[in-house]
């Protein structure tokens, strides 16, 4: 390998400007890496990772909106996902989880020699590892977005924009304001994660409660839900009709 190929391309992600500044300076002083960009939020990190194709993300765990952990979970979808080194000031649950999963992390304020060592060891993380860490997060029981793979990039879909999830034998489709996408999550997993916001209306459909306009019966006596904004109708299974009524009355 020549030196150019071994030069790591790094994306810095932290919501605090001084924290990004400091990492940039430390990386400059290390001299072995190229800083391809900076992001101030999880969403921006996922988007920039698609555009800039970095080798490593220095990813702050705690950010408003999408956390670093969630951003890493979305990026883990990519076949050529970047390696991730988490940074944190003090998140005891995350630190415990990183230790348990042998995931690289840096404590802020970051020391130059630890940064160097972490970059050398940085590895891409498996989706399963990240999912199990996310479950330990006491503050964020569910993701803020679901993600679909789009070539070398990840497309994020905010939960509040989603009308419903539907599933056939192989795929889960997410129908949202800007269209529809195939995603890798199973309907069962989504139902568990977003139980507060979505309700199962059928074996193959999970609907966002805030887009439910009405529950009606068609002439054949079959229950249907009508969606706000699109007016789409989804079949409600006989078994779930009662549960749905109860849930909507709450």
């Amino acid at each position: 390998m020549n030196t150019l190929a071994s030069t790591q391309r790094v994306l810095i992600v932290d919501d605090e400007t001084p924290a990004r500044e400091r990492l940039r300076r430390l990386l400059d002083e290390l001299g072995e890496v190229v800083i391809v960009g900076e992001a101030a939020s999880g969403e921006a990190a996922v988007r920039l990772a698609g555009e800039l194709q970095p080798d490593v993300l220095l990813l702050d765990v705690r950010m408003p909106g999408m956390s670093g952990l969630e951003a890493a979970r979305h990026l883990a979808l990519l076949p050529a996902a970047p390696a991730v080194v988490f940074t944190t000031a003090y998140d005891s649950y995350a630190i415990e989880a990183f230790e348990a999963q042998a995931i690289g992390y840096l404590l802020k304020p970051v020391r130059a020699e630890k940064l160097r060592a972490a970059l050398q060891r940085a590895a891409r993380l498996a989706a399963a590892q990240l999912t199990s860490i996310a479950r330990a997060d006491p503050e964020r029981p569910a993701r803020s977005h679901v993600s679909a793979r789009l070539g070398d990039a990840v497309r994020l879909i905010a939960i509040a924009e989603i009308y419903y999830f539907s599933a056939d034998q192989k795929y889960t489709t997410v129908r949202h304001r800007a269209g529809s996408e195939l995603i890798e999550d199973t309907l069962r997993a989504l139902e568990g994660e977003f139980a507060a916001q979505f309700v199962r209306v059928h074996r193959n459909a999970l609907v966002n409660i805030s887009f439910l306009a009405a529950v009606e019966r068609d002439p054949a006596g079959q229950h249907q839900v009508v969606l706000r904004e699109t007016g789409e109708r989804l079949a409600v299974s006989r078994r779930l009709a009662g549960e749905l009524r109860e849930r909507l009355q709450l």
């Binding site: 001084p18 408003p64 909106g65 802020k108 503050e139």
Partner: protein, 365 residues
Amino acid sequence: MISAPGVRDVGRSRALSLPDFCAARAVLAVVLIVTLTAVVLSVARQNVVLGFWLDLARTALFLLWTGLGCAAALCLLRRPLAALPLATAIVGALAAMLAVIALVSAGVLWLGGSSLLGARATNLLLPEKPWHFFAANLGIGAIVGALALRYFYVSGEWRRNVELQARARIHALQARIRPHFLFNSMNTIAALTRSNPEKAEEAVQDLADLFRANLSEQRSSITLKEELEVARIYQRIEQLRLGERLHVIWDVTDLPMRAQVPGLLMQPLLENAIFHGIEPRPSGGIVTVSGALDGDTIGLTVRNPLPEAGGAAHPGNRIALDNIRERMELLYPGRSSVEANRVGDEYIVRLRFPHVEDPTRISSL
């Protein structure tokens, strides 16, 4: 470094803490107890010669003189006794009470020996064997007095314990600075040391002042001006980190700046408002701190936006509120209030407490 400061006065030498017998409440209590005792004695004796009422009057007269005399003696001796070591103070108090009993008994005997009351009254009301009467009174006085002193000592110890526990809890709670805040501030300072050394220096000074305020244990109350300054220091440090995302509006010019307030009143509220209201919002927001004097009551209000729907909310902001509520209740029993409400898309915390400018008065409200 941020471990809870120890409570120092626990080992203060134990002293006899007598109730204040000069106070009207205590005098009333003495009168009541003495009269009830006289009733009990008269009922139990069933004196056939005198009859119940006469016996009661005689007993009550004697016991009231003794009881109120002892109360007066202890009232006069309270300060000197409190300064003495425990054993000496107990002996002194007991001796004073026995002296009063001896005096009253001697008075009774003198009255019996004189011809002031007339022969019939003297024969009926006064004791037949003077020396027996004298000795019995002193004996009973010694036993009852010792029991009373024991009771005062135990209840005083109990009260002191309760107070110490409360103080220890205050200190433990005061010493809690969010570790997140500490390490993030350190990170900010590390960044500034190269890019903006002056700002870094300022931040270190601010952090030092903030920790000093958090760790100080001498004073339970400080002036409102000092307290607001601590909160402003806190804001300056967070401002470096959060930049444009944090706006704090201070509307406190109408407040009496010399008023005494519990330490760390505003800073934890501001910390909460930023931690729960600003940090979880990607776009940040405005925290408003306002205050007004309403008659004798100071009202302070801190409002912050709620986290955006679907955003992450930090759990558990009750601890700081409970802590403030407890400390205010200790300082102004029954005269303060802490309210926290969601109103629309805002979270509002309101404090109300009496306006006191003399630090020595604050604990005796």
